[in-house]
Amino acid sequence: MKIAVLVKQVPGSESVLPINEGQSWINEDPVTFVMNPPDNFALEEALLIKERKGEGEVVVVSMGPNRVQKVIREGLAKGGDRGIHIEEDEPIETDPLVIAKRFAAVLKDENFDLVLTGLQSDDTGMGQTGVLLGEILGMPTATLAIETDIQGESIRLKRELESGWFQWVQFPLPASVSIQSGLNTPRYPSLKGIMGAKKKEIKTVLGSELDASSRSQSIDKVFVSQTSKQTEVIDGDVDVAVQRIAEILRSEIKVV
């Protein structure tokens, strides 16, 4: 069982996000980066599948500038067997098709049985990579998996639908599956894992050498959203705030 897990490095949820000078993205200098939280669930699921099978290989794959080696190393510390780094010059690639084509170029000759991705990335949130990649590699795909069950040469998945509905689907391997967050409890790396990860292989491939296709969509500008809503901010003394909320409920929204 050979499993590829795609992990992205993204700004942490607590990080500052200053917009850069050209307004094209954020200025990364003060940003704290973390493993994209949804990908952490995909990584854990890959490790659990390997452990349940009692054999296999989990390959941690990431794309981005040099800094993303940190999340690959984190994946290896948690139990990944080796890493692949698709090195990009740009701080961030925002075109999902370009991203998927580059991953496909690297993964196609590896003959993975299963490709796992997280639900979506916390930075651009395009939520497409796993499905695009599956299509390009000729694999069946599914998204929002909340339970996985390898049955011989096929995989059976519980998928989350909307409004509290679920569905089981099954298809043959190899396949690309995107994982819904919350389906497992991602482990922390052990000290032994961290030490061991230093010796594990990370292969670096240059992204610019993989795919010549031109950019088909791009993020041109980022900006702070301007809401039209008039928001009353209530800040400061707790008792004053409580009185004001009680008044809003009684006299303004009239629900009490």
Binding site: L97, D122, T124, T141, Q170, E232, V242, I245, V256
Partner: protein, 313 residues
């Protein structure tokens, strides 16, 4: 045809986001064709028959009796190849996220997802956990767009007339590789969140399971139901049938009173239609405050007990 809207079957009737997608497509301008797929295609199409559409294509096939990513992406691909629309529009739903990227990759058409509005500079979507917006554009001559919940108002659909035309597709058994079992619901519960007039919604800021009673106590005092955000449900503190957001319920109550909900995009799509929003959160930067009418910066654990006392008096 300029624009193709792919409709979604929500258990026999048209998905709300498909109606909004039609409204959005009409706003983009040009002639709009809709596509209904599957065993309910006829009834979905008839729901749109009194709106201004060039035509409504219906596709039925034995292999499309239940949804599959393979089947649906193949159908949409064949329709695009036959009709050559410039723009393909869908609602941003779990189902379209599941199969539209396949269409994008099959035909090499860029897919700009989760659009909240149109601007002169491009399509606006939220990025970085909804803390910033981004405008996205494409130079491709064909694009796929998905519109987030409430990006457009389905009441603004332009009325008129349209013809329903069956469209033939070629599908064989080998093109649908998955088998799907019947969808089912877990822990349905007897709470009708979607019709509740008042909701007290509990988020991660409640900190511990022992504190969740504060939400129920406040709800009791004001006669509200209790809903929750996903992290709280995932932690097992509140039943999953109370979840609001993209994986839970869509609500639009008279009052949405959120306690320690940060306002992640997946939650916000399920509640932003609420008439009045009060939010308490320790983090003054919490995204929930942006759509709140009343933003209370403070500790839920400190404020709520005092508020309950104040309301009882």
């Amino acid at each position: 045809m300029n624009i193709l809207v792919v409709l979604e079957d929500n258990q026999g009737s048209l998905h709300r986001l498909s109606r909004e997608a039609v409204a959005g497509a009409q706003k983009l301008g040009g002639s709009v064709t809709a596509l209904a797929i599957g065993k309910n295609a006829g009834s979905l199409a008839s729901e749109l028959s009194s709106y201004e559409l060039e035509e409504i294509l219906t596709v039925e096939h034995d292999l499309l009796s239940s949804y599959s990513a393979d089947g649906y992406s193949e159908v949409v691909t064949q329709v695009i190849q036959s009709k050559s629309p410039k723009t393909i529009v869908v609602g941003h739903t779990y189902q379209t996220r599941d199969f539209m990227p396949r269409v994008s990759a099959k035909l090499d058409i860029p897919f700009i997802p989760d659009i909240i509005s149109l601007s002169d500079e491009g399509f606006v979507k939220q990025v970085l956990n909804a803390k910033l917006n981004a405008s996205v554009s494409s130079e491709s001559d064909q694009i796929i767009l998905s519109f987030q919940s409430a990006a457009f108002n389905d009441e603004e659909m332009i009325t008129g007339s349209s013809a329903i035309t069956p469209f033939d597709v070629e599908l064989d058994v080998s093109s649908v590789r998955s088998t799907s079992e019947e969808p089912f619901q877990e822990a349905a519960g007897d709470v009708d969140l979607e019709n509740a007039e008042l909701l007290v919604s509990v988020g991660r800021g409640i900190e511990k399971e022992e504190n969740v009673h504060l939400a129920f106590d406040l709800a009791e005092v004001i006669g509200a139901e209790v809903s929750a955000s996903r992290p709280v449900v995932d932690s097992g503190w509140v039943d999953s049938f109370r979840q609001v957001g993209s994986s839970g319920h869509n609500v639009a109550p008279k009052l949405y009173f959120s306690l320690g909900v940060s306002g992640a995009i997946q939650h916000v799509v399920g509640m932003k239609g609420s008439k009045n929003i009060i939010a308490i959160n320790k983090d003054p930067e919490a995204p929930i405050f942006e759509l709140s009418d009343y933003a209370i910066v403070g500790d839920v654990l400190e404020i709520v007990p005092k508020l309950i006392e104040a309301l009882k008096n």
